[in-house]
């Protein structure tokens, strides 16, 4: 008995030690960039982990300097991500509701098409989209970016959303139909309220997309005052990596914090969303 208890203590102690090491590894980079953003000076190198002095200068510089229009970029990104999230969620819901609840001729074809299209590398379509937007004189506008993100949304989200909608019992629909509800009524009054967790998950992923995408944003948005934060950060790192690292840190913190807060609130939903995708494939 004593041997077994000792064994358990050793096992647990070892586990805790490993967990602590892993936690440090997980938190260290985040903490490091946070501290770097408060460090005076500009360089990447610092003698000590904990800065000797704290300063807010980098944050104020981001918003006041004429070179970095960070406030403007921030507003742009917010606008683009909210708009494309709203349209994208609606489009995804429409698609997944239709393929989950109705049986029609082209249904299997539609599902396979969505699947196959998802396998092309996204920016393979880059040049064509660029030319298409040029045709419609939409280059360097936020509208173009919103359209591109929202139009692509059903491709990524339909399967997860469909998997979720499939789990809502169809007897509910039928009961409502007997009570005289139209298709639209069923969608609005039964499906929408019941799929709130899935909608939240989708909204979150589609909101985050524009914050971190710089491929399309860099292609479409040409003038500096139209940039999103992602393009701005990418440009900052690429054009002057070691010369102004602390400023980059401050910007990084400003981008990461809202998204991390959202993730914190929605942690449970995320787990559900991921596992729903997993068991359904």
């Amino acid at each position: 008995m004593i041997g077994r208890k000792l064994g358990k203590t050793v096992r647990l102690t070892a586990s805790y030690i490993v967990l602590v090491i892993l936690s440090i590894a997980a938190l260290y980079p985040a903490l490091w960039i946070l501290l770097a953003s408060f460090r005076p000076g500009k360089s990447l190198y610092s003698k000590t982990f904990w800065p000797e002095q704290f300063t807010l200068a980098h944050y104020t510089e981001l918003f006041t300097s004429p070179v970095y229009m960070f406030g403007q970029w921030y507003a742009n990104t917010l606008k683009i991500s909210i708009m494309s999230m709203l349209i994208g969620v609606v489009l995804t819901l429409l698609t997944s509701y239709a393929v989950s609840r109705f049986r029609f001729k082209a249904r299997k074809t539609a599902l396979s098409t969505i699947l196959i299209l998802g396998m092309f590398p996204g920016f393979m379509s880059m040049i064509a989209i660029y030319l298409l937007l040029k045709e419609f004189h939409l280059l360097d506008t936020h509208l173009a970016l919103i359209i591109v993100y929202a139009a692509g949304a059903p491709l990524g989200g339909t399967f997860i959303a469909k998997g979720f909608l499939d789990t809502i019992p169809r007897s509910l629909d039928e009961a409502a139909r007997i009570d005289g509800a139209s298709n639209f009524g069923i969608f609005a009054r039964i499906i929408l309220p019941l799929s709130r967790p899935m909608i939240t998950y989708m909204a979150l992923t589609q909101f985050v997309g524009p914050w971190v995408d710089f491929i399309f944003a860099r292609l479409i948005l040409r003038s500096k005052e139209n940039w999103t934060v992602a393009v701005g950060m990418w440009d900052m790192v690429n054009s002057q990596q070691n010369t102004n690292f602390t400023l980059f840190s401050a910007g990084a913190v400003l981008i990461a914090v809202p998204i991390m807060i959202l993730f914190g609130f929605l942690q449970r939903l995320l787990v559900d969303g991921l596992t729903a995708g997993a068991s359904k494939g």
């Binding site: 967990l19 980079p29 082209a106 590398p121 393979m124 790192v237 991390m260 914190g264 991921l274 494939g281």
Partner: protein
């Protein structure tokens, strides 16, 4: 008595909507007529040029012309604009033909109804019918149009580019024309020494990368998940919350940050190694170490996702399976091997294959971290850590070798598609989806 249906169908073939009016569906008929009038107007202006464009890709390059004794640059045909305009027109034509076909079928069906003595639906009734029985199709129109123009059309366009010679420096419009060249591009990519050497090198690394990165994150995630959900570990929620922090940080930020942390000269990692009296490593500048770095960093980014996933699966394993194993006298290791592992592998297999396919296309991890560097002198425009996708990106944006990039894109698609289709066919949710309810 086939008169109504044949007459309505023929009238609708002559001009959309006539058959509907013949069937006394006036509003519907007028809408259809307006649609065809618009379409005809559009096609008269565009169709001829579109067909000419897609066959020839333009005939006159920009050239100098003498105007009143002074040489002047004259704008020629821009092959690529012509190609995309033609493509759009042909897509619209296909949509129109489909609508036309449906209009004839509709006239025929309603004609038949009338012969059977039924009244044709009034406009109100038609709307009602669509909302009740054609709801799904109506719902899908908007997403379909979006996907058609922003996904399908661009993909067709890129596939077409692979069969042209659209590349710098020889064939860049507007100065020069672009021509169809058939499989020439694929031939140079796969057989011609200068390109094929790079292609096979990058392909090999792409596959090594996909295998290693998927395996490390998956089994890493499995280990961490088991560690946290062990019996006797306290504060599980807190550990979990800490360990998913890397997942919550946007990749754009974390990867750009890692690039700085691993900086060979000023980066803190080498600084700390220095404290232990060790020489710093050339993390991002040596071909071998750069590959190690991207895999390690990818573990940091990817393990939390696998961990979350596997933790979710762990909670779904029924307790009585463990109890049964205990009754049979299984040790902790045996319980893991016989119950836990098969259950996890079984329910995460689709995700595993999806992750593998995703890693082949993992643009962010490579592009943000190393940008494909260090440069490899033997390669055509590719570095040692470049994947096929990042190579494609560079060929497109930096080198303007559009035809090569498109050919590579098609090859990537074939690789990824074969894995995903295999995966998809064996997932239950597709085969048995109607059995769930």
């Amino acid at each position: 008595m086939q008169r109504h249906r044949t007459r309505a169908a023929i009238l609708s073939t002559i001009f959309m909507g006539l058959g509907q009016i013949y069937n006394r569906q006036f509003i519907k008929g007028l809408i259809f007529i307006a649609a065809e009038a618009l379409a005809v107007y559009y096609f008269i202006q565009n169709l001829g040029r579109a067909l000419w464009g897609i066959v020839t890709l333009g005939e006159t390059p920009s050239h100098l012309e003498k105007v009143k004794g002074v040489s002047k640059m004259v704008q020629g045909d821009h092959s690529i604009f012509i190609l995309i305009q033609s493509l759009i027109t042909i897509l619209v034509l296909i949509i129109f033909l489909a609508a036309w076909y449906m209009n004839i079928r509709d006239a025929y069906k309603i004609g038949a109804e009338r012969e059977a003595g039924h009244q044709a639906n009034s406009f109100k009734q038609t709307v009602r019918y669509i909302m009740d029985y054609k709801f799904a199709q109506t719902f899908l129109i908007l997403p379909t149009v979006g996907i058609l123009f922003f996904t399908i059309m661009p993909i067709i366009f890129m596939i077409m580019l692979a069969f042209t010679n659209y590349s710098a420096p020889g064939h860049m419009p507007p100065a020069k024309l672009v021509d169809w060249v058939g499989f020439e591009t694929f031939r140079s990519l796969l057989v011609l020494k200068s390109w094929s050497h790079t292609f096979y090198g990058v392909l090999t690394w792409t596959i090594i990368w996909a295998v290693l990165s998927t395996a490390t994150t998956y089994f890493g995630g499995l280990l961490v998940a088991l560690l946290v959900s062990q019996q006797g570990i306290r504060f599980k929620g807190i550990w979990r919350a800490i360990l998913i922090v890397p997942y919550a940080v946007p990749q754009l930020i974390s990867l750009l940050l890692m690039r700085n942390l691993f900086n060979g000269q000023f980066g803190p990692i080498n600084q700390y190694l220095g404290y232990f009296g060790l020489d710093g490593l050339p993390w991002l500048t040596d071909p071998f170490w750069a590959k190690v770095t991207v895999i390690v960093v990818n573990m940091w980014v990817g393990i939390p996702v696998s961990m979350l996933l596997i933790m979710g699966v762990l909670t779904t394993i029924p307790r009585d399976m463990y109890e049964a194993a205990e009754v049979d006298g299984a040790s902790a290791y045996q319980k893991f091997r016989i119950v836990t592992l098969p259950m996890i592998l079984f329910s995460t297999a689709p995700t595993l294959i999806a992750q593998f396919a995703g890693n082949i296309n993992n643009f962010n991890a490579i592009f943000l971290l190393t940008g494909g560097s260090p440069v490899n002198g033997d390669y055509q425009y590719a570095g040692s850590t470049d994947l096929l996708v990042t190579w494609l990106y560079k060929l497109t944006l930096d080198q303007n070798k559009y035809n090569m990039a498109s050919a590579i894109g098609i090859i990537i698609f074939i690789i990824v598609a074969s894995f995903s289709l295999y995966n998809y066919r064996r997932t239950k949710s597709f085969k048995e989806e109607d059995m769930i309810q």
